[in-house]
Subunit: 132 residues, 4 copies
Amino acid sequence: MNITLDQAEKMIAAAKVKAVALNTKMNITVVDAGANMVAFARMDGAWLGSADISLKKAKTARFFDMNTGIIGSLSQPGGALFNIEHSNGGLITFPGGVPVQNAAGEIIGAIGVSGSTVENDHAVAAAGALAV
Amino acid sequence: MNITLDQAEKMIAAAKVKAVALNTKMNITVVDAGANMVAFARMDGAWLGSADISLKKAKTARFFDMNTGIIGSLSQPGGALFNIEHSNGGLITFPGGVPVQNAAGEIIGAIGVSGSTVENDHAVAAAGALAV
Amino acid sequence: MNITLDQAEKMIAAAKVKAVALNTKMNITVVDAGANMVAFARMDGAWLGSADISLKKAKTARFFDMNTGIIGSLSQPGGALFNIEHSNGGLITFPGGVPVQNAAGEIIGAIGVSGSTVENDHAVAAAGALAV
Amino acid sequence: MNITLDQAEKMIAAAKVKAVALNTKMNITVVDAGANMVAFARMDGAWLGSADISLKKAKTARFFDMNTGIIGSLSQPGGALFNIEHSNGGLITFPGGVPVQNAAGEIIGAIGVSGSTVENDHAVAAAGALAV
């Protein structure tokens, strides 16, 4: 199973609603089961540098089928996965990337959000993931 | 002046309508006045490799403020801009990238489309650009 | 649908048989429906530089769901897709990349072969693709 | 002396047996004495992001002729090789990369494994290295 553009656009719409509720401006990327980009939106005034971060968060979440923040907790100095960020053309391992599952529990893609605190980034990504 | 996300999403919506009318499946990217990505959509079943091409077409159109096909006519062997494609991390210079102007005639961004013949790609990009 | 490792290994085995029959030494890559690598083999004495070429051929075939040589016929000077090779981190558009279908006709991946003439490369890739 | 494809495939087969015994799904790469890829396999359902990590572990192990985890112990903040991961297009320095020796004790290549805990990754890589 793979995510559809209709699902991805619903995710971005839900993520934007959450971003506005949090008074933030976000970059939002959705990738499919193959970690290939399906949809993207940068809200007006959102940080330019967060576009690539949102993409790398979405890819990272699908690459390892877990929230990006979990990887970041393992990639710290002295951690088991120190400097894993050098792989795959650059990972982003702080919160804001979330895998997306269908009703059957299969991972069909991932969403990555960047533009505010990592807590807000994660909250917006989670809101988007719930829209599937 | 810079393109807004609302304008970019209207452009993508208009481009999708044109793509369906032409019985094609397209990747569509909109960039802003700074050549930075604002919005992207890959229609279900569209070629995976056309995502990057649509982005490079949009960037190329804004980098030089002209339709990508014009640059391609100058980048052929013996032409004035032979192999300009090597710059900027890779240009795409065949048709499908179109600058976007506001009512005052200022260029506020660009749209790039890939997924079919270059004639169809350009037609869909032009339809999107008209939605501003 | 996505290709399995078992299928990919059968494809590589069949490709190796064909490569030996043609008295060649090949690099063989199989990618899945998301254009991600599933399996690879470099036959003893095969060109080192052909490993990346076989990967890029496999990716290119899946990126556009057609044999790589078809793209190459369109990317020549004066052609509709001149210099498309600059996209996606580098395409290879001469023969040797072939999409792989399942019994239902769905594209589930692709195979790329490099190490001899493009005619031999394509023949070995086609033999591999038939093993699914 | 250099590793052969037959040896590399035996290593991957042995690594897969160990991976199944540990109830894991692994990406496994074998490189030769020149740190060039010889063979690769991604087990069904293994993390997509671990393909590149398994390659970088194999390369790292051969680049320095030692287990990757040893390098990681020296690349921590304050360590002698802090951030060595920035070299060679990206190193991976946590466990899972192991050099491969022939009967004469010569290093003829390396194996890299990624897809589970670093302990499991190393155990599978070591099992593969023993198959030579």
